[in-house]
Symmetry: D2
Subunit: 256 residues, 4 copies
Amino acid sequence: MKWTTKITKVEPNHLVTKGYRQEDLIGNIPYPHVVYLLLRGELPSKEHGKMMDAILTACIDHGVTPPSSMASRVVASGGVPLPTAVAAGVLSIGDAHGGAIEKGAKFLQEGVTRMKEEGKSVEEMAELLVRESREKKKRIYGFGHRVHTSDPRTKQLFNLAEELKIARKHIALSKAIEKEFETQTGKKLPINVDGAIAAISSDMGFDWRLGKAFFLLGRVAGLTAHVYEEQTREKPMRKMFTVECEYDGPEERDIP
Amino acid sequence: MKWTTKITKVEPNHLVTKGYRQEDLIGNIPYPHVVYLLLRGELPSKEHGKMMDAILTACIDHGVTPPSSMASRVVASGGVPLPTAVAAGVLSIGDAHGGAIEKGAKFLQEGVTRMKEEGKSVEEMAELLVRESREKKKRIYGFGHRVHTSDPRTKQLFNLAEELKIARKHIALSKAIEKEFETQTGKKLPINVDGAIAAISSDMGFDWRLGKAFFLLGRVAGLTAHVYEEQTREKPMRKMFTVECEYDGPEERDIP
Amino acid sequence: MKWTTKITKVEPNHLVTKGYRQEDLIGNIPYPHVVYLLLRGELPSKEHGKMMDAILTACIDHGVTPPSSMASRVVASGGVPLPTAVAAGVLSIGDAHGGAIEKGAKFLQEGVTRMKEEGKSVEEMAELLVRESREKKKRIYGFGHRVHTSDPRTKQLFNLAEELKIARKHIALSKAIEKEFETQTGKKLPINVDGAIAAISSDMGFDWRLGKAFFLLGRVAGLTAHVYEEQTREKPMRKMFTVECEYDGPEERDIP
Amino acid sequence: MKWTTKITKVEPNHLVTKGYRQEDLIGNIPYPHVVYLLLRGELPSKEHGKMMDAILTACIDHGVTPPSSMASRVVASGGVPLPTAVAAGVLSIGDAHGGAIEKGAKFLQEGVTRMKEEGKSVEEMAELLVRESREKKKRIYGFGHRVHTSDPRTKQLFNLAEELKIARKHIALSKAIEKEFETQTGKKLPINVDGAIAAISSDMGFDWRLGKAFFLLGRVAGLTAHVYEEQTREKPMRKMFTVECEYDGPEERDIP
């Protein structure tokens, strides 16, 4: 039985990750570049490294209300170690929370593949995809936000992608879909931060299966801050919410 | 019922973390500096920022055998989403795995406080602490490693701390303990990477309660890489180990 | 904002679950019946109650090697609280580990629906399903086991289902598929314990979405025993396996 | 490398748990008795089996507000598999949530040991323990509840313990402490359900280290019901609370 890995070679006093000695990476290669190395196998170009750094920062925190912060704080209030509470927040990263990066990236990557196969322009493909989604009543992932109509993170990420000359077909398709949606429906459905990361990471060549990983790797910093704040500022088992509960199960009754 | 937080203010199209607009942080402030901001409330000096970056990289990965990577890969093999498997690895970060940072930092911080209170030199305090620990047969956390006798990460972290002029009393005490242990016992018990981070983060002014957080925040990158490798390279429920099991419970018997 | 639940009404000194006062349930209704009540909304008949009890016991443990026990023990060895380590094992319950109950139950429930719609007999439907699965090269979930060729748990569960007169079309279809598979391929692919629970719970009227819940609710007992054994019998961070690792990533190289 | 376990022997078509063949346990031994077997190594007497069953039922659920149900529901709303969400709830079982069983049992077991060593009566020991706790301003675990002044579960559990002739010194000491607290302070601090389980499980001879296990093993049923209700009745990422947040971190400022 042998276990093969491309990640790290461990020998006494010698640690080699993706070919690089860890002591060479430490302090010489910025951590976000090392994250890129771990996910892609190669160190990033200067531009990709900067973009990766920006993506992680764009995911750090969104206050106490998202499922991940809430889960981390609620679990922390049970009186458990910091990593246990941070992990609880990570567990909530799912199809509905952060999941739009994965689904959005898959959608855009399939769209760009179809563009090539079907010889369509970005605009034609956007028109087609929006129409198909509306006909099948399927949600387009990475558009719309429950709080923001013009997400400041999206704008900054797209600006950087332009500036760093990373923007290619996936970003173009994403923006065309936003425009096309308004044309077809008269309603605005702006690209959200998940959608921006989906488009940018696709233009950087990332596998859509890593979609949730970007969110996770950035958000874990915010979750740690929430758990630390809960543990140092609040009492365990504090009353956290006023939830008005209504029980609509079976009427009170005797056991048979 | 009101919930007070010092982390992030969330308003429509406006996200302010520790006073800074997120769109200003993204792409302008390196992610490790943002992590520092989240944990300390202020952006780091250039030196502290560089040290924080190095600490995160020093924790990225140690191959497939530590409890965290093993837990992440085993859980991934059950056929679950990436964040679920990464979280399983985070759960294993405990008193025995990564926990020496927390315990070591607490030990050093209490030692430095005693130095001041008792008017002792670094060497006197080291002599006292090693003697006390040996008398109470208590382990000194952050020293010794099951694989490395001279951990390349430790050396590089301490070099950086010197170079960046971060090294103060906690690092000095840590090194004096290493020397004193050899003097008293004739045996080498070298500072490990956990011990180095404990000493350096203490000299940077970090609360020892954040000890496990440094490890977690760096290691989560390696765990993500392990889960991704498991999910894309291996089959679910693959046979992972040959564990020779011996059952030494009650003999086979009939139910009463 | 109101939160509606059919599970428990909580008032001072008064707890009503699915209509029954908790003090009436405690000691008067067997716990497996209470589990049934929680999942179905009504107390079981004597027969359903006994079957539920048997299903839970059939899931208790399969030694140290399945992902769930392994994850729990590995995480326990990191030095964390018992519930953290038990939860790590629960996390591994996924599409490939315990997941065959859910997928198998869905498959059987859809099969029985098609039988009615298409006016087919159990044998005709089994013939069709096995043929379709082979043509699409799709796995039939709930059949075959990596260790057992004749799982003693399966046999006992099916015997009980007969005895308690619970067996209906889903069990019949399941057995017909087993027979049909051998007819079409000449190979035996025996129903495993997951497949048995899938069939029986379907005949009891359970939603296939609860498939993983049966496994989880029974297995949590074994996981607790594993964590307790690890914590009381072994040292933290003990060397658990000899995993022979081969690093096949990039060759050792200098940073650019 | 050998791995020794007293839990289950796994051989092809042969599963032996604590000496008993699993096919013999399934349907013949009630699940709560099997849980007892897993934790103690022997099947319970009829009385212990019934008590174990009652303890599990006493822990099933306390509505949507405790950290465990809240964590499970919040994580479920992120769009993750059922076991992931159930595990999140399990993670919250900590020193402040369910933890009073462990701490209470340790306290009572140490108290009973001291009674023997110091030749004190139950009443003398209760007087001493309450006095010591008040002098050290230490909380006595297992007394008082944020909702109930007379917990119906406690009463029923103690009634059963009497009826089944399980009640011994730990229950006696627990009740004496309740009385003594009122004598010394004039305030009522009634034994809560955690305290009752602490006392009863101690009289049954259970290790206090298993304190959180009882709670976990019973509560997992309620958590499963909550996750299932959330997944089938609610939309992902629904707005769950109105939390009025106040940001009291640094004033909005420009990056340096």
